[in-house]
Symmetry: C3
Subunit: 134 residues, 3 copies
Amino acid sequence: MNDPISIVLFSGTDDKLHAAATIVAGAAALDRPVNVLVQFWALDAFRTDRIDQDHGLAFEAVRPGRTPPAKAGALPWAETFRQAKQLGEVRIRACSASMEYLDIDPSQLDPMVDDVCGIASFLLDADTGPVVFI
Amino acid sequence: MNDPISIVLFSGTDDKLHAAATIVAGAAALDRPVNVLVQFWALDAFRTDRIDQDHGLAFEAVRPGRTPPAKAGALPWAETFRQAKQLGEVRIRACSASMEYLDIDPSQLDPMVDDVCGIASFLLDADTGPVVFI
Amino acid sequence: MNDPISIVLFSGTDDKLHAAATIVAGAAALDRPVNVLVQFWALDAFRTDRIDQDHGLAFEAVRPGRTPPAKAGALPWAETFRQAKQLGEVRIRACSASMEYLDIDPSQLDPMVDDVCGIASFLLDADTGPVVFI
């Protein structure tokens, strides 16, 4: 058993990145291989010069009249991803089309990103197991 | 067969909660077990004192120049979740990390929430079947 | 093997529609059947009179102080969906509940939409393989 979990990581706010990181770490702790394809606004958040910045919260968290919890700025998603990689078989890949779209060079990405690949290559490793879009 | 469907319910707007509820009810009607992990803004919406409030719509629904349909305020997602639980094997669990993050006590949640659990415990029940992030 | 990929396409911004289209095209290229249920704001974007319009970008792309890439307006998602249909076994279905909610008639939808169906009928075809909510 132990089907891999494939995650298409699209969203770039701290809360969704944190939710993704905890799923990845939880799956790694259960000995499931995890493949993450980082694209669009998530990829932007994985830039070395931006990864430690505040990336905001999802739309519904910041509506008028809504005060996000004080802990909002303290979601350590990047560190959780790094720990997940030490814990199990976690591969973090940058989406080639998004690299071009955002005009990002591989050297600009955090070292936890393993390589760059296309969607078809990513889906080849997802022939079994769930595909999660976040 | 009849693999379970595992849903990580993150979003807290009425349209996404409604979309989630109809997937849960549809799966229950087809005799598939459903496990829902309610976290972040969805968990906030499951608070007893907020569940019947207006939780707004997704970002793209409320852009300038866009008028959401009049039926927008009338999406009965909470009731659909309750009916799904009567229809089949549906478990609704509150994410322990989100409980802490949002400073919510179990007694503040709608009774349809069965218990509190962590992501690893949730993923243990998702060793087969799809994992859906909403 | 070759489990189908089932996609619940909810979001109506160009970046998410593009992300969905490339997953569909990639899966079709790998000979996997793909079933797409188009609902809510995605369904609105599939209206014949709106499909070629600018549908904006996700929330985090347009925050103050953030300039989306110049290529933002040029994501050819509709064409990518059409090519995916020629490439493989791709079925695009409109969600019946969303049709009613948005007051849309089948004749108002782009011809690439094959038919209208309910969530239970859609989930029947998803008894194996991943379910992806976008």
